[in-house]
Amino acid sequence: MNGQKEKKVYSERIPVADIVEENDKAMVYFEVPGSKAGNVNIEVKNSILTIEAESCLERHGKPILYKRSFELSDAVDVDNIKATTKDGVLVLTLPKAESAQIKKIAVE
């Protein structure tokens, strides 16, 4: 052993997702069965949102890693993205930037 940590080999899967839009935000629901909050990694780099979730499930002797990326538009307020997990579903809340929200204008 040279002291380096051996890289874990995963069986990679693309999680299915639902995207629901509301006036002030969008909700993204990823199915990541067998994953707990501590095993989920979410990052935004150069407007690319990437989620990675390690599962307790295995395929072909390797643990499953759910991984998927999306390109975000400028309308997303990246600093206020929130994430929760429940029953194997990762829920991302993507708030819209102020400028992207629909404003109703009253006609006088």
């Binding site: 299915v16 839009e21 067998g34 029953d87």
Partner: protein, 149 residues
């Protein structure tokens, strides 16, 4: 995907054979090895231990009461019906991508060894239904000698 999402990173993935064939015809250079990874696999996974058989059924976002598990001989069937409303049905929300299964889903598997169905236990945690069935000990399986009169 509306104004928020322009595209995903690996395109459309679907269990539909026709769609699979269509996409494959667009990208003929992709190897079978790659397609094996892209195609969806069974939600059920069977592990045989020394004294039990453990079946894992991956179905996220449900409650334990949504599941119905039946065991007949060495066949195990899991039925699930998501009873909660689809998020788009509430108020003025609208979905721009819908890939998750809503409604009913069923999958069966033939277990590789005889089991004692009456002592089966099931637990739902983090989107995975885990069913544990004790294995029949030798001489205890359901083979019955019938006398010919």
């Amino acid at each position: 995907m509306g104004f928020l999402m322009r595209r995903n990173d690996r395109g459309i993935v679907s269990g539909g054979v026709m769609l699979h064939d269509l996409v494959r015809s667009w990208f003929p250079d992709l190897t079978d090895v790659l397609w094996k990874d892209l195609l969806p696999d069974s939600r059920m996974h069977v592990k045989v231990n020394d004294d039990s058989v453990c079946v894992q059924f991956a179905f996220a976002g449900c409650k334990p009461s949504d599941f119905e598990v039946e065991s007949s001989g060495t066949f195990l069937t899991v039925r699930v019906a998501r009873r909660e409303k689809h998020p788009s049905e509430n108020g003025e929300k609208r979905y721009s991508c819908c890939e998750r299964i809503w409604g009913e889903y069923q999958e069966s598997v033939k277990l590789p060894v005889p089991v004692i169905s009456a002592e089966a236990k099931a637990k739902y945690t983090d989107g995975v239904l885990e069913i544990t069935l004790p294995r029949c000990k030798s001489g205890e399986n359901s083979v019955k000698q019938i006398e010919v009169l």
